[in-house]
């Protein structure tokens, strides 16, 4: 018995030696990305509108465009991205072990994940303000949480979704039975087959899932927000240069919409800025007046490269989640502050 245990332990040790290796010297991960000429981006790959394998075999979605914008800024080419599809429980270990450079995988920004005593990540600005919701069948007549008392609820495991659901029901002193599936596709299957009265996930994911149902209008998303889910890209904490660069790439997407700079007019705006010395804020933003990009360790014209590759935030949103896309989610909180939304970029000074 002891001998067998010992052999088992050796194999465990062998396994573990492969677990972690990361060069955390003085070099920023940003230098490694530039040297490699390619960005390793952790994504979900399973959520239409955010990251989903399209018909031609490439990934598409809002999260994917964030990866592409980062690659455009860091290595100057939006196509130089290697996508790593990750499950929810895998994602932070993949980041910490250095398997990926950054995470653009509908990850909720919260204290435990940000703090050094928790996951110790660094979050870029929020790219999608979401909230956890419940979806029920229209015919069920369920209108609020009280109607779901003692019901079965289909929920994915390995996400904060489970915790939020529990908090919301406990607060209202309601009981329920969670049916925990491993990933969203199984949650959907369980819900559609009638195992549960309701399924829960982030509102965006529910809308994305519903878009692929045979009868989308037979399902309603309840108007009860179980949580705030600000989704943001993340990198390993303690790497200020990479964190800063990511932060300002996202701000560049938001600021470009504020400046009305689009994929279409970026070249003319660039020319305009070059020709008119009095447009100083535009010149700084587009890197005509050098300095800002350098401070981040990026090319001075990184904003131009980013906008050429993906367009501004509004364009990215409309491409994947707008009224003409297959997954339609009203912009709501994700509008620019000028239209009553929450998106605002600090000045590029």
């Amino acid at each position: 018995m002891i001998g067998r245990l010992f052999t088992g332990l050796i194999s465990l040790a062998l396994l573990c030696s492969g677990c972690a290796s990361i060069d955390k010297g003085d070099n920023s991960r940003l230098d490694l990305i530039k040297k490699r000429g390619q960005l390793h981006c952790g994504v979900s790959g399973k959520i239409p509108g955010f990251s989903f394998l399209s018909g031609n075999g490439s990934y598409e979605g809002l999260d994917i465009d964030i990866c592409r914008a980062m690659a455009a800024a860091f290595v100057g080419d939006a196509s130089k991205v290697q996508y790593r599809p990750l499950t929810a429980p895998e994602r932070f270990t993949a980041l910490k072990s250095g398997e990926i450079d950054l995470l653009s995988r509908n990850t909720t920004f919260n204290l435990s994940r940000d703090a050094a005593g928790g996951n110790g990540l660094t979050f870029a600005p929020v790219v999608f303000h979401d909230s956890q919701r419940l979806m029920v069948k229209r015919s069920s007549g369920i209108k609020n949480l009280q109607n779901l008392k003692a019901a079965n609820i289909c929920v994915g495991s390995g996400t904060t979704t489970e915790q939020n659901l529990n908090d919301a029901f406990q607060e209202r002193k309601l009981s329920y039975t969670p049916i925990n599936y491993q990933d969203l596709n199984q949650v959907i299957a369980g819900y559609l087959q009638g195992r549960c009265a309701a399924m829960t996930s982030d509102g965006s994911q529910l809308a994305a899932a519903r878009s692929s149902f045979p009868d989308p209008d037979q399902h309603i998303i309840l108007d009860v927000a179980l949580s705030k889910e600000p989704l943001a890209p993340a990198s390993v904490g303690g790497d200020q240069r990479l964190g800063d660069a990511m932060r300002w790439v996202v701000f560049a997407l938001i600021a470009a919409e504020e400046f009305d700079i689009t994929q279409e007019n970026i070249n003319s705006k660039h020319q305009q800025a070059k020709a008119n010395p009095q447009l100083s804020s535009l010149r700084r933003f587009l890197g005509v007046d050098a300095g800002l990009g350098q401070k981040l360790g990026l090319a001075d014209d990184f904003v131009v490269k980013v906008i050429r590759a993906t367009g501004n935030y509004g364009e990215i949103y409309n491409r994947h989640l707008g009224p003409n896309s297959s997954v339609t989610i009203p912009r709501g909180l994700n509008s620019s502050y000028r239209k009553g939304g929450l998106l605002i970029s600090p000045p590029f000074n």
Binding site: L14, C19, I22, K24, S157, G158, P178, N180
Partner: protein, 299 residues
């Protein structure tokens, strides 16, 4: 080679192996401390905060993580023990049917083994769950009156409620492992000399009685080792439970890891729990093996 040379060679090998293991552990420790992932188990006493659909003992979300893990372990144990029993019965039936005189029985059993062994277990679990139990109606079907009722919500067996997740997992595991056990049993029966069959038949014993009292006891020593490894497989395969939403140990650890970010500790606990569980099964089977051999030597 002289004896002393042999000794030095072995000693040298042992030392280098130990050094190698030492390097691996040191490497792990350095890398863990570098990424601030050093092991800690204090979080086990904090409240878990998530409910479980099934729990053998009283459990509420305000109980500690360690209690939640215990519930998960008990859930695993429940499905493993039920699975072992069901798979054994199924395997012995199918295995002995292979040596039956009845051609239909033989064909049925070889068809079962052939079909089940070619399809991955995960697919079979999905089948039993999504195409099996979840296709049932909401109102219970009662083929045998109040004895057993089946519906989308699960099985009511003699007043005992088994969820559809548990039932699907149990059926999937037992059917899958039963097919492998059938082969082990068939191999054991084939190892008994043909003459033994002829002997009991010539004595006028009925087929079933002869099989039970003459052939199977002699086949047992050949069956037991194979059976042990099938039992271990079943125990390990039970971690696929999460695919059909059953709250086994793996599922509870999965949720725990997400909430506490203690991935390495979580997986260590998982590894140790399964190691213990499988050592128990192996130990039990070894004991059984010894008893069988002893009783045969004495008879």
């Amino acid at each position: 080679m002289k004896r002393s040379q042999k000794f030095y060679l072995q000693f040298g090998l042992a030392v280098s192996l130990l050094i190698f293991i030492g390097i691996l552990i040191y490497n792990l420790w350095v890398n863990l401390s570098r990424t601030d992932m050093l092991l800690s188990f204090r979080w086990l006493e904090q409240p878990a905060g998530f409910p479980l659909a099934e729990h053998a003992l009283s459990y509420k979300p305000s109980d500690s993580y360690i209690w939640a893990l215990c519930m998960g372990w008990l859930n695993s144990l429940k499905v493993i023990i039920c699975g072992l029993l069901a798979a054994t019965v199924l395997g012995i039936l199918a295995g002995t049917a292979r040596s039956s005189r009845n051609a239909l029985l033989r064909a049925l059993s070889s068809g079962y083994v052939a079909l089940i062994r070619q399809i991955p277990l995960l697919l079979q679990l999905f089948f039993w769950y999504f195409a099996g139990f979840l296709r049932l109606s909401q109102t219970p079907l009662a083929p045998l009156g109040t004895l057993i009722q089946v519906s989308k919500q699960g099985v009511e067996l003699l007043g005992l409620h088994l969820s559809s997740e548990f039932s699907a997992l149990l059926v999937g595991l037992s059917v899958f492992t039963g097919a492998s056990i059938a082969e082990v049993v068939r191999g054991g029966i084939n190892s008994v000399p043909r003459g033994q069959w002829e002997a009991f038949r010539s004595l006028g014993l009925p087929e079933g009685l002869g099989l039970r009292s003459v052939v199977l006891p002699q086949a047992l020593p050949a069956i037991l080792p194979g059976l042990t490894s099938q039992y271990l497989n079943l125990a390990k395969n039970s971690t696929l439970a999460i695919a059909v939403a059953y709250a086994d140990l793996y599922k509870v650890i999965n949720t725990t890891i997400t909430q506490t970010n203690r991935a390495i500790e979580g997986f260590l606990l998982l590894l140790i729990s399964f190691l213990m569980l499988n050592l128990l099964i192996t130990g039990g089977m070894e004991l059984l093996n010894r008893l069988v051999l002893k009783s045969q030597q004495s008879s």
